[in-house]
Structures are given as structure tokens and as C-alpha cells.
Amino acid sequence: MNKYAFFLGCNIPARVSQYETASRMVLNRLGVELVDIRQFNCCGYPLRNSDSRAYLLSAVRNLALAEEQNLDILVLCQCCFGSLKKAAQLMAQGGSIQDEVHNFLASENLKYQGNVKIKHLLTVLNHDVGIDTIRQQLSSTFKDLKIAVQYGCHGLRPSPVTQFDDPFNPSIFDELVMVTGAQSVDWPLKLECCGAPALGIDDDLSNSLAGKKILDGKKAGAQYLCTVCPYCHLQFDTVQAMMLEQENLKEPLPAILYPQLLGLGMGIDGDLLGLDQNQLEIGDIRNFLGKE
């Protein structure tokens, strides 16, 4: 029985709640038990620019909370994932800020000893649950569906820290898409950034990067983008909708969250997977489902 502390971060509950609901549905089918720790706080990622102490303290408190319950962490967001992984690495190095963190945690009766593993949804699905188990749960598979997978930067890189997959030729996500019957297209900008980190700082830059990826995905023949990170998803859903509205973009390449895609293959109702909570219409993807 796989059991994890479920780390949602800040964006998902507030802006991409369908990612949470769909993940819960799918993981439940696959026998993964999720433990909610309400005391979890921000992973620290947004603070890395401005205050490394605040970053480390935020990240490590979460690790300590999971460790308290002897649980590994399952993360949905690639940025949270990268941030927690980096924090674990920094703590292993030791130093004066690290000592401060330990002292602070002690004042809240918490302790971090480095015993907690941090895993992204993709890792749990591909390695811990396994492709075969997933295949057994599918009620139908997609036919002629071409998907451009959006890995997300902070899972892949820096690879010595994240140890997620081969940073130059990753396959973990492609395999998970292919098991649903869909095809994972090769697209040149596959491993590039979605542009979300520049949102609110330089929107032109951010939109331009997103636009390039969207065009690139379409050129490679993809009908949908598939995302596994709320930042990427906001960028390719909410922001793409804004770009279309402002005519910065002609044709959409809608994004579907991976658990939504997998859930459809498992025969879960689209409403339960929150398909209509996406800004761009993705309901038609069901037309690609063929009965086994």
C-alpha cells in the first residue's frame, strides 16, 4: 500500500483545484492513500528570489511535518517539488542557516533528520504504482490522440538535486501518456520553460515564451498539451485564454492536466475530473476515447 503526505502548495487550492480533485480520484483508483497535513505551509519557492532564510525555513518545516508522521511527500507542483528537493539538499550540506532552521523547528517541537522522500506525482505513478497497474485500471484507451507533454523545469533541473529523470532525454511522462493510448509527440521546445515565472514581472516575455511553445506543439501535430504543474497549467490554460482574447495568439492548443487525461481513460466522469474548470474547452478530448 502506497501512502503519502499530500502536498498541494498554494496555487492548486486557490486556482487549479481541478488538479487536486482529479489527482485524488485517480490515485484512489490506484490504491494510493493520501494523508492531508493541514499545517503544511508554502514550499518556499516564491521566496527564493528575495530571502533565502525564509525560503529554507518554509520548505524544511513541511519536510519536518511529513517526517513527524513517517510519511514520504507526494507533490503535484513541479516548482514545489524542486523547492523541497533543493531544501533537502541544502539541509544535508549543513551550515549556519541550517542550524538556525533546526533551532527554530525545535521551538515548535519539530525535527528534521532528512528521512523524508520527496516525490512528484509522475514519479509515484510511474515508479511506485507502475505502468502495468495503471494499464489494468484503464477502461478504454485514446485513439489518434496526439499529446505534447510539458514536463516543467523544476522537476527536470537541476538534475543532481531533483533526480527526477534524464534531464536531456526524459521519458517518465511520455510513458504515462502512452499507456493511455495517446501518442506523445516529439516537439523541439518540449523541455523549455512555460514562461510562468516571469508572469507579473515581464508579461511580454512570459507570453512570448508561452506562445512559442504553443506554436511549436501545434507544429509537431499535438492536439493537446498535457501538464503536471499548476504554474505550467495556469500559463497554458488561464493565460493562453487571455492571449487568445487579446489576439496575441490565433489558435489554441488547450492544456489538460495529466490526472484528468488518465481519469478519462479509467472511465471517470469528466465532471468529477473538473474538465469544465479549465478555462479552455477540453471536453472534446473524450471523442478520442475508443471502447476496448
Partner: protein, 591 residues
């Protein structure tokens, strides 16, 4: 006479306070700049909104919320059963006392024609409700002073609220105790209701009251003759029992009476009953007059906030009413601290010490701001940092027992402060994402202005680097700055292959990247190697870096370029908000 004067004065002050509050909800506070529409228009809009809601299906929603969230306070129960228990004890106890006891002639008498305050169940219930309030207050004191949940802050308003309620209840119970033990009260009642002629009969009745009803008498102390007590019982049944139950039912007052029995006669002589009576009514009137200006105003504002929040819909409701509600929400906050327990940025508060990062304290300072307290630059900076160091996770809004739409409040305040020209280096972080998602709500120039100003404050408009004529002199001491931990990041290993720059998606995005970015990634590495950290800090490249780690992953020398960028940005922010400012900020706010 005095009673009436006091009552009317407190009622007048209460009403004036209430009007003052309602006018400030309508944006009529002269010290507020946010009023685009006059108060009459806002009042009209509010009134129309209320009428429309009441005469629609939404009435059922209102009723449901009234029962679940106001009477039973389910929102609090879900968060913290203990705090719910504490608050329900105080809230129900006090409200029931107000109805049963304080307004008995207006309410209890109308509802129950047989109402006699000295008969059961009223005699018992009054003390029972008082005991509820007291138990709740004990829990409240325990919570605020002994248990102290993490990041729960207490301020004067919290103390005043506890003190005033405690004063009302304690003085009331003591007054009852004194009256129970009072010989004069007994004599008056005996004359008025029993009117016994026989000295022996009076003694018998008195004996019974001394023995069983808590009376302190100068004549009779016991031991008691059974026959006399028996006779007393008979007389009591005949003359008193029809409108006076045993004082033991008023258990709190009876307890006090038993406690003070040895000193009761002396206290009676110095007029303690009158004194306590005035203490009791003055504390009640004080509470009433002070209510609109104290935390206790939440008994009015919080139900309003819960009800309006349940029926108002973002995007659909009249924006004028949304503004009005936001002002009201400031008064609905009870400073209970639930938000702080779940705030995603709680560790940022612990690291930086700026109390404005905690939602409950942001509220306190917003209230102060709205009430016209002038804030200096540092304090405004602290509030802006507080509202910007928010991950917009909406948890505070989800858990708030008063149903306050905190997330919207933060966004509005954040924008207001930014538009007033305050700069905030944290703008250049992923925390700006939500501002971008809402950018269509702002005119484009207003959206861009604070970003430009902050960029300027951080790196002098990034212009210094784009002037080709500018000549930099190398520092004479070429040993890199020893203070920083950048050396740990082995940039010294850089051999100048420029792979970082060629793999950077930001660089690739521009035709003329140098003009746009100031320094390219490899140039930043060169700067560091030459000890020109200052110049590196002025590069726009740092702030539009996506932290996608392409450079670092691709570097053949394993230089941790992105992490070095992070450290440089930390340094730049620190230069802008140095440790001293942070310290003064902390001190001024905790004053």
C-alpha cells in the same frame, strides 16, 4: 433617575457610534480616499441590494447561514472545537442573559406571562447563563495567556473585551449574592408579601431563610430548632413560595452569599448592595457605549459579513456594494487568529519578523489605517511587504470564521499601496503571478507603473549597463567578496564557453538581448570573477531569469549559475531593504 441618565447616555453614545460605523462602511470616513461614489449612492445601492436579496430565493440561503454560521457557528466548530466551545459558552450565555435578564420586560415577560425573576426556571437559568459566560471567559483567558497557540497575537482590544464582559458578569453575580444575604432585602420582602404579625412567625420564617436560603441575619445564627424550621417551611409555603423559589437554585449568587456570610452584615451597613448595583449597571452601560468602538462590535458586523458573503457573487454583485462590504469586513474581524494558524506565509513571518505578514495583524493595521492613524514610510513599507509576501493561497479566506473575503482585501490593499508609489522588491518574484492574472482589471499604465518603479529602485532602471560608452574600472582588489557564499558556487570554474547564454530561453527570446537584458548569463559570471558584483546586480537579466536551470544543467563546468543568480537577487533585495530598516520596522510595529 441616575439609572435613566446613565442608560440614555450610553444608548446615545452607542447609536452615534453605530452611525459612525455605518457611515464609514459607506465610505464616508473623511480620512479615506477610496470614495468614488457618494455615501447616498452607496446607501441606496446597499439598500437595493438588500431588498432584492430578501425578496428572492436567496432568502433561504440567508436563513440557512443565520442558523448554521451565526447561531451555531459551524465554521468555528469545523476549525477548532475547543475555541467553538469557548465562544459558544460566551455568546449563548451572554445573548440569553441579555434577553432573559437585561431585557426581561421587553422580551421574557412578553413571551412568558408567568414570568417572575425569582421563580424557576428563570431564577436558575439566569445563574446558569452567567456560569456559561464565566466558563467561556476562563477558557478565553487560558487560550490567550497560558496555552497561547502558535502565532496567535493578543492586543489591547482583546484584553478589553474579556475585561468588560467579566466585569458585567462578576458584578452581576456578586450583586445577586449580596441581595440574597441582605437582611434589609429580607425585611422588605417579608413586609410586602408575607406581612406577618406574630414576632414568633417572623422568627420562624427568618430561621428557615438563614438556614437554607443564604440570608445573613443579626438576630439568628443557629443552631436551629427543628420545630421552628418546620414552622418556617409552612409559612414560606403559604406566603413566599408562590413567587420565590429557593435561593439555592440561583447557585452562583447563593455560593457568593455563603462565602460572604460572615461579612455580610457589615457590607450591608456600608451600602455594598447599592455600590454593586451601580458597578453592574455602569459596566453594562460602559460595554454598550463602547461597543461600536471595540472588538465587541463584531457581534453586529460579523453576522452581516457572513450573510452578505453568502449571497454576494464576485463579478455579479454591484461593485459599489462590494466596496461597502469590504469596509464592513474590517469590523467583522474578531482577531481570533485562525488565519495565522494556516497562513502559508507563516514561516516568512518567522524569518523576517514583520508582523504584517500574518493576516490577523494585517487586519489590525488596516483598521488603524482606515481609522485615520497616520503611518510613516517604514510602517507603510511593512504593510506593503506584508500584503506582498502572500502566496494568494486563499487559506485565510477559507478558514475565517467571520467569513471575511481576506484574499480580495489583500489584493485591493496591495494595489492601492502600489499605486501610491511605494516600491516593493518582492514584486520581482513569482508572487506577482496573481497580479498578472488580474491585470485586465487595471489600466495598462497603472499595471506597469509599480513594476517600472521597483525595477528602478532595484537596479537603477537597468540603464547603466546598456550605455556602451560607459567604462567600468576594475576593482584594485580582485579577490571576490569574501562575505558572500557565492564562492561555494564555484563560478570560478567558468572557462567562458558561453553555453549558459546560448541555452537561455530568455536570451533566445530577443533579437538584441544585450540591449534588453544588460548582461547575459556568461557576462554575469565574468563580472563575478572580476569582482564586479555591483555591476552584476544591476543587470536586468537577473530579474527576468525564469530559474528554469537550463544554464546550470548545460554548463560543462557544473557552475551553479541559477543558484548564483538567486543569491545575487537576495543581495540586491537586501541592499534595498537592509537589516536596519527591517529592525526598525519590527520595533515600530510591536510598539
Amino acid at each position: 433617575m441616575l439609572y435613566k441618565v446613565l442608560l440614555n447616555t450610553s444608548l446615545i453614545i452607542f447609536s452615534l457610534g453605530l452611525f459612525y460605523k455605518i457611515f464609514s462602511w459607506l465610505g464616508c470616513n473623511p480620512r479615506l480616499k477610496t470614495t468614488e461614489s457618494s455615501w447616498t449612492i452607496r446607501l441606496q445601492a446597499g439598500f437595493t441590494g438588500i431588498v432584492k436579496t430578501v425578496f428572492s430565493k436567496k432568502l433561504f440561503t440567508l436563513l440557512k447561514i443565520f442558523i448554521t454560521d451565526i447561531i451555531f457557528q459551524i465554521r468555528t466548530l469545523k476549525e477548532d472545537p475547543w475555541r467553538w466551545f469557548m465562544h459558544i459558552l460566551i455568546y449563548w450565555g451572554f445573548m440569553l442573559l441579555v434577553m432573559l435578564h437585561a431585557l426581561d420586560q421587553l422580551i421574557t415577560q412578553k413571551l412568558f406571562s408567568d414570568y417572575v425573576p425569582t421563580l424557576n426556571p428563570y431564577l436558575f437559568l439566569r445563574d446558569f447563563f452567567a456560569a456559561m459566560v464565566m466558563a467561556g471567559l476562563v477558557l478565553a483567558v487560558f487560550r490567550r495567556f497560558i496555552h497561547k497557540p502558535l502565532r496567535l497575537k493578543s492586543n489591547r482590544m482583546d484584553y478589553y473585551a474579556i475585561i468588560i464582559v467579566a466585569l458585567i458578569i462578576v458584578s452581576g453575580v456578586c450583586l445577586e449574592g449580596l441581595k440574597i444575604s441582605s437582611y434589609r432585602e429580607f425585611q422588605n420582602m417579608e413586609k410586602e408579601y408575607a406581612a406577618l404579625d406574630d414576632e414568633k412567625d417572623i422568627r420562624a420564617l427568618e430561621s428557615l431563610w438563614v438556614k437554607d436560603y443564604g440570608l445573613a441575619s443579626a438576630n439568628i445564627t443557629g443552631p436551629f430548632d427543628n420545630a421552628v424550621i418546620e414552622q418556617g417551611h409552612e409559612l414560606n409555603e403559604e406566603n413566599c413560595a408562590s413567587c420565590h423559589a429557593s435561593n439555592k437554585w440561583a447557585f452562583a449568587g447563593y455560593g457568593i452569599a455563603t462565602l460572604i456570610k460572615p461579612a455580610a452584615l457589615h457590607m450591608e451597613r456600608v451600602g455594598a448592595v447599592t455600590m454593586l448595583f451601580f458597578l453592574h449597571i455602569i459596566s453594562v452601560f460602559l460595554g454598550l457605549a463602547y461597543l461600536p468602538f471595540s472588538k465587541m462590535f463584531h457581534v453586529i458586523a460579523t453576522p452581516f459579513s457572513l450573510l452578505t458573503n453568502a449571497v454576494m457573487e464576485p463579478g455579479k454583485s454591484n461593485p459599489i456594494n462590494v466596496k461597502t462590504r469590504q469596509m464592513m469586513e474590517l469590523d467583522a474581524c474578531t482577531h481570533c487568529g485562525t488565519c495565522n494558524q494556516y497562513c502559508s506565509a507563516m514561516m516568512v513571518y518567522e524569518a523576517r519578523g514583520n508582523v504584517c505578514i500574518l493576516p490577523s495583524e494585517k487586519m489590525t493595521f488596516l483598521k488603524a489605517m482606515v481609522n485615520g492613524k497616520s503611518l510613516n514610510q517604514t510602517q507603510r513599507g511593512a504593510i506593503l511587504e506584508g500584503v506582498y509576501l502572500c502566496t494568494n493561497c486563499d487559506r485565510c479566506t477559507v478558514v475565517c470564521p467571520a467569513g471575511i473575503n481576506l484574499k480580495q482585501l489583500w489584493l485591493n490593499v496591495r494595489e492601492d499601496l502600489l499605486q501610491q508609489g511605494d516600491t516593493q522588491p518582492i514584486m520581482f518574484s513569482p508572487l506577482s503571478l496573481v497580479r498578472s492574472l488580474h491585470r485586465q482589471e487595471l489600466p495598462p499604465e497603472d499595471y506597469q507603473k509599480p513594476l517600472t518603479a521597483t525595477g528602478q529602485a532595484l537596479a537603477g532602471d537597468f540603464k547603466i549597463l546598456t550605455e556602451p560608452s560607459k567604462i567600468f574600472s576594475l576593482p584594485t582588489n580582485t579577490v571576490p567578496n569574501q562575505d558572500t557564499t557565492l564562492l561555494d558556487h564555484n563560478f570560478i570554474a567558468c572557462f567562458g564557453c558561453q553555453t549558459c547564454t546560448t541555452s537561455c530561453p530568455v536570451v533566445k527570446n530577443y533579437e538584441n538581448p544585450e540591449a534588453e537584458l544588460g548582461l547575459l548569463p556568461h557576462q554575469i559570471m565574468y563580472c563575478l570573477a572580476s569582482g564586479l558584483t555591483e555591476i552584476a546586480l544591476g543587470s536586468r537579466m537577473l530579474w527576468v531569469c525564469l530559474t528554469c536551470y537550463q544554464c546550470q544543467e548545460n554548463c560543462p563546468q557544473q557552475v551553479e549559475i541559477t543558484d548564483i543568480f538567486y543569491e545575487l537577487k537576495n543581495q540586491a533585495v537586501q541592499n534595498l531593504v537592509d537589516a536596519d530598516t527591517l529592525k526598525t520596522m519590527k520595533n515600530e510595529l510591536t510598539k
